[in-house]
Symmetry: C2
């Protein structure tokens, strides 16, 4: 605003004049259109360089209706985003792909209604060409609000209640992963299982629980009958809802110990909670894996670093990020066309010493 505002950035018009061509030709030369003579193109590029011309993004976006940016949205408290390496890994994969497509990755956290409104405004206002959503809880409205306004949306994970089923997504097979974990401990003779779930308004938590149920049912067991003495040899499962944090894992493990006499296996739905459980068990002098086996989920770096190294379900997190970003970029290019549904990656059990 002040008088010094000066240093007016070069405009396309200035470039055109310097190069001795019309604005139309200059524009074509700069956007790489083939309908320009080599001569004109060269002069324009030279002029642009000499003026350190940077096109005005707003003006361009106004007419092209594209911004060449992709949003990466985490619907979670900042706290969780920054403490769970899960997000960093996915973000890393996504960033690679988005950068490779010469687009800018715009990162956003949606933790409050305020954040949500701001994000919708920002994204639907045309600042991004597509949005990738992570950690979507039931009832989250942002993805639908964006879709309504024509912004392509990609989910990491299965859509929860309140989000349309047909949203393109990148996912891993959570049922299979959790089932493998449960079968693993059952196979080692464990019979009194305790599951620490994630927030049950998240599909990942639901699905992982379902995986355990199937494994136990297949082994002739009972789910949700923690108290009563199950017939000898028949597996039983108790379920406690956690919140995907270390501290939540501690608390849940304490609850399980209290409720399940003879508890001999803890299946945590992510590694952070498993680490919390590990800590509590150590404090109580309970041996892992001698007394209780502990299995995590995700295979974050911490998993292989902790006390007894954690048996866990490895997820290809970076690939998940790459996959989702690839979808998002495709949608950004093609408008909200059919999004080929996305893909489902396979998790893999990694057995270490905690089980």
């Amino acid at each position: 605003m002040s008088a010094e505002a000066g240093r007016t950035t070069a405009t396309l018009d200035a470039v055109a004049r310097t190069a001795g061509v019309s604005r139309a030709t200059a524009s074509r030369a700069l956007t790489g259109s083939p309908r320009v003579s080599d001569d004109a193109r060269e002069r324009v590029l030279a002029a642009a360089a000499s003026l350190s011309y940077v096109p005005n993004a707003a003006a361009r976006a106004l007419v092209t209706r594209r911004s060449d940016a992709v949003a990466f949205v985490v619907c979670e408290q900042e706290e969780r985003f920054f403490s769970d390496p899960f997000f960093a890994s996915v973000l890393k994969g996504a960033h690679r792909v988005v950068a490779a497509s010469r687009r800018q990755l715009v990162f956003a956290v949606v933790a409050s209604e305020d954040d949500r409104a701001r994000l919708v405004r920002f994204a639907a206002g045309g600042h991004v060409d597509a949005a990738i959503f992570l950690s979507v809880h039931a009832g989250e409205t942002a993805p639908e609000r964006l879709r309504e306004r024509g912004v392509p949306v990609v989910l990491v994970g299965r859509p929860p209640a309140g989000v349309a089923e047909d949203v393109p997504r990148a996912d891993t097979d959570n049922v299979a992963g959790a089932r493998a974990a449960a079968e693993h401990v059952l196979g080692r003779g464990r019979r009194r299982l305790g599951v620490i779930t994630g927030p049950l308004d998240m599909p990942s938590a639901e699905d992982r629980l379902e995986g355990v149920r199937r494994a136990v049912a297949a082994a002739g067991g009972v789910v949700g009958a923690p108290g009563g003495p199950a017939p000898a040899g028949e597996p039983s499962v108790a379920v406690v809802e956690g919140d995907y944090t270390t501290e939540g894992g501690r608390r849940a493990a304490a609850a399980l110990l209290e409720r399940v006499p003879g508890l001999d296996a803890v299946l945590a739905q992510n590694d952070l909670m498993a680490v919390g459980a590990l800590g509590l068990l150590r404090e109580r002098g309970i041996g892992v894996p001698d007394d209780v086996a502990v299995v995590g989920y995700d295979d974050i770096p911490l998993a292989s670093a902790v006390g007894p190294a954690l048996t866990t379900v490895h997820q290809p997190l970076e690939e998940l990020g790459r996959e989702s970003a690839t979808l998002a970029v495709a949608l950004a290019v093609g408008g909200a066309e059919e999004g080929r549904g996305g893909s489902v990656l396979r998790p893999r059990l990694v057995v270490r010493s905690s089980s």
Copy 2:
């Protein structure tokens, strides 16, 4: 593009027509100008709501020359960004402040020349109103390129060679922090110190090294004379350049052991390297702190979790983020006006069991 493109998002014109006023009045009502009658304002807001109107960001930005977004730029390999909690903490603080100002935080990693070009284009093109730079190495050109084009820039940390001295910044007193660490080990009778620095093209590394030098000089010691037998009782310091990664810390620790007979203290310039050193010392059967004291820097969460809990220099990382974002927001509002220079926060030595 396809036929279905339809669902044209509502424009200001549509809102104005629905409300029965002119576009000018509608605009004023929506931007909160006082020069609108209550009646008109209400009708416009109602119309906007009923049409789920979201202003076109590009059009608005084109005329206001503001985007209401702030960039957070980390000049570092993705790898480092995601593995060092340092960045997460600063980002967290910055995000808070930016969100509170009703702006969007745009996150970017600049690891290659390509990334740099893209960022400059993106930011100078008007997608952001200000940019916060972290981990700026000597010779980094992006901040200056943005400043030249009128985009306000804030640095976290002191500007390295190649970046103007007068860039507003948020910083901590690295000299004082490192000096405190060195005085601490000297005070406990350690005499043969080894310093593992960060990349020496970064001011933080330079300054921390300087802090150690001052402490040692004050104690009558010699710097950089590792080999020869120093006079008994006179402290000496050997310096090995690290890279702020755990693995780099391991390697540097090995180098120090080799070069410095009687090494009895390792001062690592960040916690990640200190953890690497800790690991190597353990492997070699060298006792910490009995044989060698180890001190880190940053006080990331890991520092208090590792083997012998790490003595380290606590930095107010979130505050650093908040501070830098506050500056950036102020600049975004005021144009590239004088940036009150920023502030220098005080680090604090935290003594744990590794020293």
